[in-house]
Symmetry: C2
Subunit: 730 residues, 2 copies
């Protein structure tokens, strides 16, 4: 037993051994068994199931609250039961707006009434379901009835407003029109409202999402002129989930905020439109020609405004408490029933959602089916598996968030890790998550074969990175937001992963009526080869976490990555200082005014506050100290470890991620507890690493930046103590 | 007298003195006189003259051979005579093609006949002159009648064909359609023919030259959907000028090549079209979607082809010997009549040419008028001034080239420098030329005031550079080709300058029927303020060269610049070596194939020949030795120099540029004698510095590269000897 552990810990904490059979967290003997099990698992995966299940679940629209959505949940529950899982539906009662009135019209200098309807296309019967299709809108836009001059604000992100400042253009009292992309959509109305706009229109420009990219549906995969991207604009960077029950479960009898007080509903009405509807509006703008980078793919000269185009936007929603049905399916662990490995994917869609989310959902189900079958034949996982099919992800990660909030205390005690998937397609592995899991995920990626090229998915990912000028090494990306891992990692501090394939599945169907079975099987993953590859990848990861002798967390990659984040921040701080010095010098020399074209709008730039020298040493010292401890842990002679200690060690490993959270959470958004990863306050999905410090610097809030350095150092100190507690067990 | 010379040479060879009154090449006393003269000159400049003369000369189309063109030449001659110049017309007889048949039609899968006609616009009567307007065509396209499948080749430059190779697409036997821009237009049919294409269509894409840039004419300055850019496609990088008389003047009785043998007429027919005419052709293409960087501003998905679009292109020209009338106006120098300072601008246009070339022509005339007036009042220039109005620049720099070839021997003895101008507009100084003149031009730029901002044009240029992330210091750009300086500097080795203002004069009128007086005065230089500023700048440069006690050549800036060119080349060689090593390594690892999408065209890249280590030491040693001699010349105590030696020194200074030429010229294009500057063989206008060496490396012709290093080193040695002869006079 003792000798076993020497080898075991060496495998765990030192870098991956060379022999193919060596896998992190397993004794050599158990590694062999595990790899045999994984091969048996892989052999059971069948593309036909994915195909059939997608046909079934994506046959009709199934957003939260629909009968078809509930039927899907019940059907999923039934499937899980048939595979030997203990499956239940947990329902929350969430606020969900359905669009009653949607009016957008150009009222000057000419008139145009926006159609707001995508057309059915030949060869895709699903697009012809008429009134059954959810009208295009942005969920959690406030009600409103506004009329004002229009201003084109590019993507409507912070640097676009800097450009508007240079042009001397103010959006106060105006309605803005912004292109989709450049940030998560919810940032656009949030920022527009902060700048004083009274309404916001979002459209898909053909350059980013239309004919410029490729042939449009149904000839090709891309967005035709009538397609509209639906989507939530809830202020998720403040908190996701039900807008009325922040931080706790939206159970039937939960105390709720008044809707008028809900801070995550937008301040101004916002509506998404097609590029066909955007064209007359943009064409009617005058004022300065848009900066070159703002110009899109419509056959017009893009102007910024304001006006003479004037628009009238009227939106009314039916705000109802709506049931959201999460399916929770459990397969009890044979050795550690109170250690849960969790897997999840949402089941609700905006319309049919063949790609988003059903392509991921059917992969998860096939994975669960195969594992259930293996379990029935005597290969029960050692730890408990919990498979989840979330409802109401689309309007704001609501199903998963309410569930995590509701069960937070138990989850923080029991969950080893949460593995998320969502839409999936042909291409390369994209894997994000807690960097303590990077080594294990890399090992699994070495074991899974790419269905098109016959090499490992890791090798293919590496080839793509190299061709695009990136690194050869396998790395996890850092998680921001955008799917159901958010409540797990950001709020509960549970180590999480997000997995998916893509890169050869481009299209314009996202959140439109065109995300259908015919579109998916023509353009996204014909034959479901990558659906099965996702099941294979996520399933192996799940099984490794479930069966590992010692949980396969490795902190050296974590240390290297987090040190890199700090280096980044310090470098960007220095660059910001230099750039501001240069700028101020140029202002002093009147260079901007001398260079400016007197026939174009010009606002003389102001001098900017100099960037102070921040004291990063608390972070540098903590990371240096941590490095030593992590090195110790990875090199230690742990031959003296008893079985009892091993159980305790696993317990400590599970909880390590939670040591990276702080109860107070991030400034102005206490729901976000994690101190290493968060979605950006002004990017929405895009991650900000070391967010407290990084965002304070980006916002030039120097006092807060110094304060957050202290907060983060204290978190790292707690994490260090946690690592040292493990070292003390050795 | 002796003391004078100490100061004099210090001014000449050391950097510019700080006192405003100190100017390179003048004794303090003469500097004062010169600055007084320049002020008097400036005071005489009158925008009204420019306005009137443009109205006159741009009233009707006046391409070479037209009656209106001849009348303009005669009128210019008359003006010069009235200002006291000895003015004559020197006529050459050049081959010039006039379009008889222009047919372009889509023949499959649908049909479309190209209109090939720009429409008249309201508010611009000149655009309504109907048949008097020259039909749109590319001069020196060969006759042809071809029909074939179409291939879209982006800009049709070398790297675009590399991209086509990756897609496995060959243009052999096809007709290519290329966007204007990315290179000089003549490169497109040249390269297409080298690749086996049988026809070439060039169009203006709205992204580069149309509504994407700004509002179109007549609402704004940019190209409307019917505008077509005319222009020469003669193979000027081989030799410019008359295609039948390479290297010698196209006099009446000159021996001429057969047209069929003329190497600079294109090998395949080529026709320019509007984006209105291009749209149905591009829309009919299938095959791979164009790479992202190739996509333009038309509202379509750009495909590469080949086919199914098939086009029929038929072109026939009337090939006539046509008289080209150069106006040569001389003002005899009072002290050094055999030292000529030359000024030139062309007078022929494609259509009305209000901007190109009349805006530059009227500035030159106003400058000459003012100088003539000063001369009549006793301020005769010390050296002879020769003002030239060139004909037939548009079809291939023909008027100037024939004249230079015809008078080469005399010019090489007598010309101090040639100063060129061409189209001009609102904005910032752009000055290119021989770097031995950089110091003097910089001093003049300090003395001329920007009409919009009230600071010197040098200061404004510097502000623009800084705002665009460039250098604060004033620098000349290196001359490639594109206007009449080419025969002077590239062929005869005469120090040259090219001057113009721009940057706030964007538009789409270039070589179209929209380059008219109304367009010019609305969008290019309303009020002719920059026309007069150009006259002021070029006039002061001319007067300084004419009156300098010692010619204001300074070689330290030359040395620094040329050393920079060598550093560039060595660096790019190293980068090329590294890139090829990386590429070959990736080919070995099969990375490209692993990364490729199996559903898209893919050609496995080949390994490339490794870049050898070239021996640059001959150039490094020559430049190092030169640096010492140039330092000596600039620091020397030349107090012992006699008046006689001063005359000899001036003679040596005049001829220094010629020491940078070699009789053999560049490989495969012996007309180009200059060893420091040449237009690129595959860029056309774009300069290649140290061209023999640089282009051999770019073409991966390693033997030739090493050989050209030797040739260039020998040239630098001759130049060094020339500098040392001056040192020996000290």
């Amino acid at each position: 037993m003792k000798r076993t552990f020497v080898v075991l810990f060496l495998l765990l904490f030192v870098s991956t051994a060379t022999a193919q059979e060596a896998i992190t967290g397993f004794t050599p003997e158990n590694a062999k068994k595990q790899l045999t099990l994984e091969k048996a698992f892989e052999a059971k995966l069948n593309t036909d199931n994915l195909d059939q299940w997608m046909r079934k679940m994506a046959a009709e629209p199934h957003w939260v609250g629909t009968d078809y959505g509930r039927e899907n949940a019940e059907w999923i529950q039934k499937q899980f039961k048939s595979w030997g899982y203990d499956a239940k539906i947990e329902t929350y009662h969430i606020l969900f707006p359905y669009p009653k009135v949607r009016l957008l019209e150009l009222t000057a200098p000419t008139t145009y009434k926006a159609k707001l309807t995508a057309v059915p296309v030949e060869g895709d019967e699903f697009t012809g379901q008429g009134d059954a299709l959810l009208p295009s809108y942005n969920a959690f836009s406030t009600d409103g009835d506004v009329e004002a001059e229009l201003v084109f604000v590019n993507y409507g992100i912070p640097k676009d407003y800097e450009e508007l400042d240079k042009l001397g253009i103010d959006v106060k009292g105006k309605i803005v029109i912004a292109k989709y992309q450049g940030s998560w959509r919810g940032i656009k109305p949030k920022l527009a409202a902060e700048k004083g706009a009274i309404g916001c229109i979002i459209y898909s420009d053909p350059q980013d999402d239309g004919y410029v990219r490729g042939d449009v549906y149904p000839k090709g995969a891309f967005k035709n002129k009538t397609g509209v991207q639906r989507g939530s604009v809830m202020d998720m960077p403040t908190y996701p989930g039900d807008v009325l029950t922040p931080g706790y479960g939206a159970t039937k009898d939960a105390k709720r905020l008044d809707r008028e007080q809900a801070p995550t509903i937008t301040k101004i009405p916002v509506l998404p439109i097609s590029y066909e509807d955007a064209l007359p509006l943009l064409e009617a703008l005058e004022g300065p020609v848009a900066p070159n980078k703002w110009k899109g793919g419509l056959p017009i000269t893009y102007h910024v405004g304001p006006g003479p185009a004037k628009v009238h936007l009227k939106l009314e929603f039916d705000w109802q408490l709506t049931p959201a049905h999460n399916v929770i399916a459990t397969l009890q662990g044979s050795e550690y029933p109170d250690q849960w490995v969790m897997r999840g994917n949402h089941h609700d869609a905006w319309v049919h959602g063949a790609n988003d989310p059903i392509s991921g959902m059917v992969a998860l189900m096939e994975e669960a089916r195969a594992i259930g079958e293996l379990a029935r034949k005597g290969n029960k996982p050692k730890r408990t598996l919990v498979y989840c099919a979330w409802d109401a992800e689309e309007p704001g990660l609501i199903g998963s968030t309410e569930w995590v909030e509701d069960h937070k205390e138990e989850l923080q005690r029991k969950v080893v890790a949460y593995i998320n998937t969502d839409g999936n397609g042909r291409g390369f592995l994209g894997a994000g998550g807690s960097h303590s899991l990077q080594q294990m995920v890399g090992e699994v990626a070495s074991a899974v074969i790419d269905p098109q090229k016959g090499v490992s998915i890791k090798e293919r990912r590496s080839a793509v990175n190299l061709v695009n000028g990136g690194k050869e090494e396998f790395e996890l990306y850092a998680l921001g937001s955008g799917s159901d891992y958010t409540p797990f990692i950001q709020h509960a501090g549970i180590a999480s992963l997000n997995l998916g394939f893509g890169g050869e599945n481009a299209g314009g169907e996202y959140h439109t009526i065109y995300d259908t079975y015919p579109h998916y099987t023509r353009f996204k993953d014909p034959g479901f080869q990558y659906g099965v590859t996702l099941a294979n990848t996520a399933g192996r990861i799940t099984l490794r976490l479930a069966n590992a002798d010692v949980l396969p967390f490795a902190f050296k990659p974590w240390q290297a990555t987090v040190s890199g984040y700090l280096d980044d921040i310090m470098k960007s701080c220095t660059e910001m200082r230099k750039a501001i010095e240069k700028h101020n010098n140029m202002v002093d020399k009147n260079v901007f005014e001398l260079a400016a074209d007197p026939k174009k709008p010009f606002v003389r730039p102001e001098k900017k506050e100099a960037v102070p020298f921040l004291d990063f040493t608390p972070l540098q010292n903590q990371l240096a100290a941590l490095e030593t401890s992590i090195q110790t842990l990875s090199e230690a002679d742990i031959s003296k470890l008893s079985m009892d200690k091993r159980v305790k060690m696993n317990q400590k490993l599970m909880l390590a991620e939670q040591a990276l959270t702080s109860d107070a959470g991030l400034p102005r958004r206490s729901w976000y507890k994690h101190q290493i990863y968060a979605p950006g306050f002004y990017t929405g999905y895009g991650v900000k690493t070391l967010p407290g410090v990084r965002e304070a610097i980006e916002q030039k809030n120097w006092n807060e930046a110094q304060e957050q350095i202290g907060v983060l150092a204290a978190t790292l100190k707690r994490f260090h103590a946690h690592i040292d507690e493990m070292n003390n067990m050795l």
